[in-house]
């Protein structure tokens, strides 16, 4: 535990004890949930819905839905690597579609912020149904870190957690 103390979101690490998605309207709209957060790492799940399909004949989820899941997991992984809350802006995101996602299965994404510099964060991630080693998509993402964080989603989640603790 001591090693993770330096991270600003450390009080929220674990099996989704706080709803880190609550303040992101589009993630909520999709039905995304946080499975787990840890130092530099985030795992999200997107429960399967017929509306996410791109190719109705094969019933495969559209690539863009997978992009959104990986993008969100990547951003959260960056937040989980921060030692102070800062604004996080996506610079670019590349997704490789390794195979078709299996229809009717919930989609998971696991992202790791493997390197941060003063101003830039680098993330890699995978999307899978069950086993991260058998992924149907992978991604590389780059983020710029801003000077401050003005009322961001994670600041609010942290605040709520603190308030909850005082009760």
């Amino acid at each position: 535990m001591s090693e993770s103390q330096e991270y600003v979101l450390a009080p929220l690490f674990g099996k989704a004890m706080v709803d880190l998605i609550a303040h992101t309207p589009h993630a909520k709209h999709l039905g995304m949930r946080v499975v787990e957060t840890a130092p530099r790492t985030a795992v999200l799940v997107l429960p399967y819905r017929a509306e996410f399909v791109g190719d109705p004949r094969r019933r495969v989820v559209f690539g863009g839905a997978i992009t959104t899941l990986l993008d969100h997991a990547s951003g959260l992984a960056v937040a989980c690597a921060m030692t102070e809350l800062r604004a996080i802006a996506t610079v670019d995101l590349r997704v490789d579609y390794l195979r078709a996602a299996v229809p009717d299965r919930d989609l998971y994404a696991r992202a790791e912020c493997y390197r941060t510099t003063k101003n830039v964060a680098f993330v890699r991630g995978v999307a899978y149904e069950e086993d991260p080693a058998d992924s149907f998509a992978s991604c590389l993402a780059t983020f710029m870190l801003g000077p401050g964080n003005i009322g961001g989603a994670y600041a609010r989640a942290l605040e709520e957690h603190r308030k909850g603790g005082e009760r």
């Binding site: 589009h26 399909v53 989820v61 690539g63 992009t67 670019d92 579609y97 961001g152």
Partner: protein, 127 residues
Amino acid sequence: MNSPLDAIPYARFLGVGVERRGEGVETVLPFRDELVGNAVLRALHGGVLGAFLELTALLRLLDEGDATRVPRPINFTVDYLRSAGPMTTRGRAEIFKLGRRVAVVHAVAWQDDPERPVAAGNGKFLL
């Protein structure tokens, strides 16, 4: 107008429409609160822009004609250029290279000013 996007459930889910403009087609994404990624800035979620660009690229390929099946993405890269605010987003794509098996498509999205794009995408599709 009828468009191939009608057959893609995710395009309907996002609310993406199509308009024919001159020689090409443009995709249109009206703003809705459900598309927001940053509630403070009311900025579109990065994933929405990525998905919109990928739909725009796919539509361009479908519009090209004789595809016997829906082209499958091999990979897609999105560059985020500006924050996308609470207004309509438009997209356009061009086929950079149409090979026998692989197509390379560039797509761009903008809001009030086509000269100030909010995001750009580069996709490789298996035909």
